[in-house]
Each structure stands twice: as structure tokens, then as C-alpha cells.
Amino acid sequence: MTNYLQLSNITKTYGHFTALDDVSLSVDKGEFVTFLGPSGSGKTTTLMIIAGFEKASGGTVQVGGRSISELAPHERNIGIVFQNYALFPHKTAVENVYFPLQMRGVSRSQGLRQAEDMLSLVGLKGFGHRHPKELSGGQQQRVALARALVFEPSLLLLDEPLGALDKNLREQMQIEIKRIQRSLGVTTIFVTHDQSEAMSMSDRIVVFEKGRIEQVAAPLDIYHHPQTSFVAAFIGESNLIPAIITSGTDRTAENPTLGAVQYAGEDTLADGQKVTLLIRPEHIKLSRNPIEGRKNARMIVETIVNYGDNALVIGRAGDIPMRVRVLGADVVIIKEGEECCISWAPDAVFVITK
């Protein structure tokens, strides 16, 4: 079902401060959508408006074609997992999961059985009798997830749920959340400021900045075709080079330092337009001498950061700071302080007009 969740022109103001400015978005049934953005960008406020804990100053929220803007949080049938899990400390894991069923009048014996089944699905079979404080962070997370899913909510909202976990556990939970979400087919909104989390989990990413939506697209589209410099800089590593279009028909732009640069894409841009060229660090090749058939430039190497299997080479092409990501073996040919040659193919250059 398309347009299952529909946000229309949502605004939120606190006094003179505008937290959300005309946010519109539609999400399909079963989709996993991530709200990505720096803190204060409006992603959590949007989530709280969907959940009903914040009231929008304007605009409507619809689920399944029905407006829920006027409903109280407990009438919305939306499951939420909070960053700190918010498990009830006076209830055991299985009682926590039973709670939403209890509120819906399910009998205790049947409700507890259903809750046990849900705990099994999240991989916590046999942990039901424990209190939250007797569970590890990852286990608490699973209980919170089970509790938010057991009553078959129309939406699942996850508010930075992995923030408090260490790196290994976080990766494990990313896979786990994805698996559970797929198996139940529940429409999910995931809020995070971690771009790698967003890239690995989402069907689509919504990038927030200063209370506005910057771009909505699939993870790889966002990565390869960012529509604004903010998105390009926020997602992945990037080299952003200011330039002016010299020939829209030939897809050529000019930068004072680099000279003429060919770019990819079929958009015919007007000559003289100011643009930003995006080149991802992994698309740049490092060599001693210029390579035929590519755009070449000289770069002074300033810093080499080794990661074992790859290395990040940071340097300057004239006055332009450049980052080059190279495979571990290739970095042997250069040292810090040396001058070398960087080159890229025309299809590695993407034009950003905003």
C-alpha cells in the first residue's frame, strides 16, 4: 500500500523558533524509513509528532488514509522503542511485553503466552522472568522491541535505539532489527544520527537539516546522487569543489585551480551557473605520474591515516583540500610531504546545484 503514512506540511514552532518547517513525506506499508540528521535537525520532533507526544503547529499526520492528528498517544496504536528502552523496572521482561496486551483487555494467561512467543522471536526465550536490571543492554533492547511489536502496531518508531550499545552489539542489533522488521512486515521509522546505520538498514533515507527535509531517497541514491552540499557532506566522505559551468552541453565545469573538469549526468545546466562538484574519496586514484584518459591534478600529501586494509590520504591540490581513499597496498608508493598525482574518471564527478 502506497502512502500508508502520510505527513502533510507539518510545522512546529516554539515561540519564535521554528523546529519543523513544512515537512511532507509519504511512506509505503512495510517500508523501513530512516530519519537521518544532526541533533536539532527536527528528526526526533517529527517522530514525537507522529507518536502524539508533541502537537504540530500545523499540518496533518495520516495512517492508512485516516488522520490521527487529533488522537491521544494511547489511541494511536503505534509501537515505540526509546533510546533508553524505557522498560518498566517493576515488571519482569514478560510482564513488560504483556503490558500492551493487558491494556487491550487480553486475559493474563493468553497474554503472557503471546508475550513469551514474542520474546522467542526476538531471541530471548527463557529470559521472561527476569527484571530489566538483570538484563544486559542488548537484551533490554530486545525486550523493548518485543513490547513495541506484540500488539501488532500500525507503525513502529525507533528513536536512536542503538545509541547506548557498543559497536559490535550495535551491528548485531542492526541485523536483528532488520530481520524482525522484515519477518513481521511492519512499517518502521528509525531515527538516527549515524549515517552507517542509516545506510545499512533503510529502504529509504530522509535527511533532515534545520527543520527541513533535504532529500528523500534510497541509500545508494543518497550516496551517489546527493541533491545538496549538506547531504553530500553529511553522508559518506566527500570532496566538494566549487566550480562554474562553462559548457552545459559538453558537461564541463571550471575551477580556478583544477581547470576544466568533466562531470557526469544528463542534466543540461546553464552556462555560468555556480555549482559544487562532488568526488568521493574512493573514486580518486593516486599515482606517481599522470594517467591517460583521466582528469589529472597534482596533490601535496599532508597526512596518511592507515586503517590496515585501506588508508585515507589527506592533502591539498593547490588551495583545495582533498581526501583520497586508497587500498592498503597502494599507499606504499607515497610518503607524507611528497607531491603525487591524483586522477579520476569523468563519471566519478557529480554536480550539486544546491
Partner: protein, 267 residues
């Protein structure tokens, strides 16, 4: 721990415990007034306490007044604490100050105030008058305890409950109240003890009809130094001791409960 610290600790404990060391034996004394060390021992003053209406009525008054004070205090403090901790409104700072005021003003000043003011209202020498005055004195301490608890309360728990389908009333009943229970128990306990212990205001306004135990004890020690005072002190001490020890006994019993599930051949 070095020797000095050990001795310092010992002396402090001794200093704190000394009144007990004196009061408990004196309650079993057969002297005609308070005297230490006691010349001989008997249980006569215990019988005197439990058979004399002069003592039992003030005891009953104290329990009644302290219970009513606790109920009234909590009825005022619970909503007030929620309002003052969770909401911003005009005059909040002033309301906060007024809640704590009775603690800052000396009891004697309050007592004189009540004496003249309640006199006009006809509340002097009545249970109601003492209950109202004690409630006023109990509010600050109950408020302090409860607001500390409520400030540490994670509001996401309530949001979670609501998202899971609990109406605000059910959220309060199933989540807020159970989690705040320790704070509520402790603040009502403080309210009760404050009233049970309060002497100055009671002396001024309780009169004959609503005479409380501390007032009766004070009168008694001034007039005849009746050793029944030592009996009451000892009894109160053991009630408190029991109250403190009860949770330990309860948890000891609870932790013993699952043990029989060990293999039968283990011992």
C-alpha cells in the same frame, strides 16, 4: 582503617547510643522517679503504662493525629509535587517557597501563631486543630522527599506506557504509582513521624482533650519525673527497631525461598 579512626568511630557510636543505654534499664527500674543506675528491677511501670488511661489516651491521640496528618499531608503533597516538578506556571517560585516555609520558621513561632489564630477559630484544644498544624509542619519534608523521587522519574516510562495503549489514568495506576511507591512510603513515613514526634505546637494547642504523647511526657517529666516515660521511650525504640529490621527479615525469608530447589543430595 587505622587505630585513631577506629577509636573515633567507637566514641561516636557510644555517644549516640548512650541515651539508650540509660533509658532502657531505667524503664525496668523500681525507683519512684527517674534514677540511674536503677536501685532494683521490676516490670511495674510497664503495667502502669498499659493500665493507666492517663497514658493510653495520649498514646491513642498521638496515633490518631499522626495518621490523619499523614493522610492529609499526602493528599496535599502528591498533587502539589506533580504540579511543581512537572509544570511551569506563573508564581511557581513563590509556591515552591511556600511549600518549604514551615521548615524555615521556628516551631515556637508557628506555635504562637496557631495559638492565637486557632483560638479565634475555636480550634485550640481540638484534634482537628493539631492535625491541621501538624500537616502544615509535615508538608515540607514530605514534599522534599517526593519531589526528589519525582525529579529522578524517567518520563519516557509514561510515554512508553501511553504508546502501548494506556490512558493517562491507567498510566498513572500501572506505571507512575508503582515506580514512585518507595518515595510515597518514605514521605508518608516522614509525615507520620514528624507529627508523632512534634512537641512544641502540641504543648501550645493540644490542651487536655487532644493531648499527645510527647506533650504528656513533657508534662510528666516537669511535674513528677514518672519512670513511665522511660517505658514509653523504650517501647518506641523497639517499634522503630522492628520497623527498620522488618525489610531485612522479609528479604532474608524471600532469598531462602528458592533454595529448596537444590538437588536433594547436596547436603
Amino acid at each position: 582503617m587505622n587505630t585513631f579512626m577506629r577509636w573515633a568511630g567507637f566514641i561516636v557510636v557510644l555517644f549516640i547510643a548512650a541515651p539508650l543505654v540509660i533509658v532502657v534499664p531505667m524503664s525496668f527500674s523500681n525507683a519512684s522517679s527517674l534514677q540511674f543506675p536503677p536501685p532494683g528491677y521490676w516490670l511495674g511501670y510497664y503495667r502502669a503504662y498499659f493500665t493507666s488511661m492517663d497514658w493510653l489516651i495520649p498514646t491513642w491521640n498521638s496515633i490518631l493525629i499522626a495518621t490523619a496528618t499523614t493522610i492529609l499531608t499526602m493528599a496535599l503533597v502528591v498533587p502539589a509535587t506533580f504540579a511543581l516538578v512537572r509544570h511551569k506556571f506563573r508564581g511557581k517560585g513563590f509556591a515552591d517557597l511556600m511549600m518549604l516555609m514551615p521548615m524555615a520558621v521556628p516551631h515556637i513561632v508557628m506555635a504562637v501563631g496557631y495559638y492565637s489564630y486557632f483560638g479565634d477559630l475555636g480550634l485550640v484544644h481540638s484534634h482537628l486543630g493539631v492535625i491541621l498544624a501538624h500537616t502544615c509542619l509535615s508538608v515540607p519534608i514530605a514534599f522534599l522527599v517526593l519531589s526528589a523521587n519525582l525529579k529522578g522519574f524517567d518520563r519516557n516510562l509514561e510515554r512508553a506506557a501511553q504508546s502501548l495503549g494506556a490512558s493517562p489514568a491507567k498510566t498513572f495506576l500501572h506505571v507512575t504509582l508503582p515506580i514512585l511507591r518507595p518515595g510515597l512510603v518514605i514521605s508518608s513515613l516522614f509525615a507520620f513521624i514528624q507529627s508523632f514526634d512534634e512537641t512544641v505546637v502540641a504543648i501550645f494547642i493540644s490542651g487536655r482533650d487532644a493531648e499527645t504523647l510527647p506533650r504528656k511526657m513533657f508534662d510528666s517529666i516537669r511535674q513528677e519525673a514518672d519512670p513511665v516515660i522511660a517505658v514509653i521511650s523504650t517501647l518506641l525504640f523497639f517499634v522503630v527497631l522492628l520497623g527498620i529490621a522488618a525489610p531485612y527479615f522479609a528479604s532474608a525469608l524471600r532469598s531462602r525461598a528458592p533454595k529448596p530447589s537444590r538437588p536433594a543430595g547436596a547436603h
